[in-house]
């Protein structure tokens, strides 16, 4: 083991998890600030377009104020919603998945495996929970390592060998060590808000397109240049409505997939045994039992997406997880 740390067989040179967590916190903060800024820009754009559309004079003079108000509103809303999600997130996730906390006596092997992985990562022992379903899955939640939970399904517990279970638990422990729960919750909220607002913008163009268009025709005689501004405003709304949610989701899913790869790699760094996780992923891939209790809201937390049937579609840009074949391939490269 000592020889392992001198020359990690995983090819991963970074073994100081606590330093990695600090680095991750910084990157998380940066991305969240960026997403908030995008949200503010989207809000300001919508506000400006509305200012143009409801403006009677046709000069677009008041539009700047509307842009300011809408942008400010988005900023405030982002902050409040993120705070609420972070505050309530844990309980919500555990409730949504039906995970029940267990004591050591209820599942000694699982408990031991979780404790082993907590020691390997140098993190405090998380809470251990079980979901009573035949489906094979697992997730981790908790904004801080001190208040984390690792949950696995009963089916997973029954189907996997000790080594495979260790690989899965290490993957979940990596999500905790990498601060992924905090990260994906905050990103999910900010992206959700952008999607919601741009959806509103898109719907309103239909409404404004008819009403505003009629209005424009009627008064086209007294307004010079106003018609052009209205067209631009509607175009801005359309662009925001169509592009920003797609772009935001693409970023979110790409980040989510990278986080899965990272958690797989970190898992091997903890166990120093890629075969365990590879075997587990194979079994998860072949499992047929459906996970009816899962909710779309928590799909990104699981080790494999509970809704997606993997295969040819799995490498799609909108997937929360990379395909299992791709994950196994990368794990092979580590071993």
């Amino acid at each position: 083991m000592a020889a392992d740390s001198a020359a990690p067989p995983t090819g991963l040179s970074r073994t100081d998890f606590l330093a990695a967590i600090r680095r991750n916190r910084r990157n998380t903060a940066l991305l969240c600030i960026l997403l908030t800024l995008i949200g503010v820009v989207v809000g300001a754009g919508i506000g400006w377009a509305y200012g143009i559309l409801i403006d009677e004079t046709g000069t677009g003079e008041g539009a700047g104020d509307y842009a300011l108000y809408a942008g400010g509103f988005m900023l405030l809303f982002s902050l409040v919603w993120t705070a609420v999600a972070l505050f309530l997130g844990d309980k919500l996730v555990l409730g949504l998945t039906g995970a029940r906390a267990v004591a050591k006596e209820d599942a000694p092997v699982l408990w031991n495996v979780v404790e082993e992985m907590a020691l390997a990562a140098g993190l405090p022992m998380p809470q251990v929970a079980i979901m009573e379903t035949d489906a094979l899955n697992a997730f981790a939640t908790g904004l801080k390592p001190e208040k984390a939970t690792v949950a696995v399904t009963r089916g997973l517990l029954d189907a996997l060998s000790r080594d495979e279970l260790q690989g899965v638990v290490a993957h979940e422990m990596s999500h905790i060590a990498n601060d992924d729960v905090l990260y994906m919750t905050a990103v999910g909220v900010l992206v959700g808000l952008i999607v919601l607002v741009s959806d509103l913008a898109l719907r309103s163009t239909r409404f404004v397109g008819w009403g505003g268009g009629g209005h424009g025709r009627r008064s086209s005689g007294d307004r010079k240049g106003g018609g052009g501004l209205v067209v631009i405003a509607i175009l801005v709304l359309l662009l925001i409505g169509l592009l920003s949610p797609v772009a935001a989701r693409l970023v979110q899913m790409a980040v989510s997939r990278q986080r899965e790869y990272l958690a797989d790699a970190t898992s091997v760094k903890l166990t120093r045994n890629p075969l365990g996780l590879i075997g587990a992923l194979r079994k998860l891939d072949q499992a047929t039992a459906r996970f009816d209790n899962a909710s779309k809201a928590v799909q990104h937390l699981f080790i494999v997406n509970p809704f997606r049937k993997f295969g040819e579609h799995a490498s799609a840009l909108m997937a929360t997880h990379p395909s299992i074949e791709q994950r196994i391939e990368r794990l092979r490269a580590l071993g």
Partner: protein, 187 residues
């Protein structure tokens, strides 16, 4: 004169700030190493506590392996004696205990009766897990030691680390036999 004075003050402030950051980094690293060591300690103590129970349970089945059982008990007592002594001595005693336990587990494989004993199986899961926990906390300890030793030896920290009392920490090396501990199959 005024400009030179300000430059001197600026350099001194930067140097002091750099010194504070360096010192705090070294302290954080040393504390991480100490915390990691305490984690190993907890697991080693647990292993020492489990052993009398294990020996008691398997004695009836493994009557012909008196020599190995004696070796385990002897190694365990040596490890208990080394407790609280110098860290290098503890590491040696624990590595020796791990090696004799490995021999015992290997021999236990050829006693089918033992595998039918619920109590023995539970003890074996506990000991297997404790062995794993020792290995994993040792891994974390060694990772922390490597990070801290790199910090202490790097320039320019190497100039001040020694005088400030930050030394290199010893790695927890596994003994040769310990590395060949056969994995106990539970499923």
């Amino acid at each position: 004169m005024g400009t030179t004075g300000w430059i001197v003050i600026g350099v001194v402030v930067v140097l002091v700030l750099w010194g504070i950051l360096l010192y705090n980094g070294l302290v954080a690293g040393r504390n991480q190493v100490e915390a990691a060591w305490r984690q190993i300690d907890v697991q080693l103590k647990r292993r020492r506590d489990l052993i009398p129970n294990l020996v008691e349970t398997v004695k009836g089945y493994m009557g012909y392996e008196q020599e190995t059982l004696q070796a385990v008990i002897k190694a365990r007592n040596a490890a208990v004696a080394a407790e609280g002594g110098p860290r290098e001595g503890q590491i040696q005693a624990e590595a020796a205990l791990g090696a004799t336990l490995g021999r015992l587990f290997a021999l236990a494989e050829s006693y089918p009766d033992l595998k039918a004993n619920q109590n023995a199986m539970q003890l074996q899961e506990e000991l297997t897990s404790t062995e794993n926990k020792i290995a994993f906390s040792r891994q974390h300890y060694n990772d922390s030691v490597m990070a801290q030793n790199t910090r202490v030896e790097s320039f320019p920290a190497v100039l001040v680390a020694g005088p400030l009392g930050f030394g290199k920490h010893p790695y927890f090396e596994a003994g040769d036999q310990d590395r060949e501990v056969p994995q106990v199959k539970l499923r």
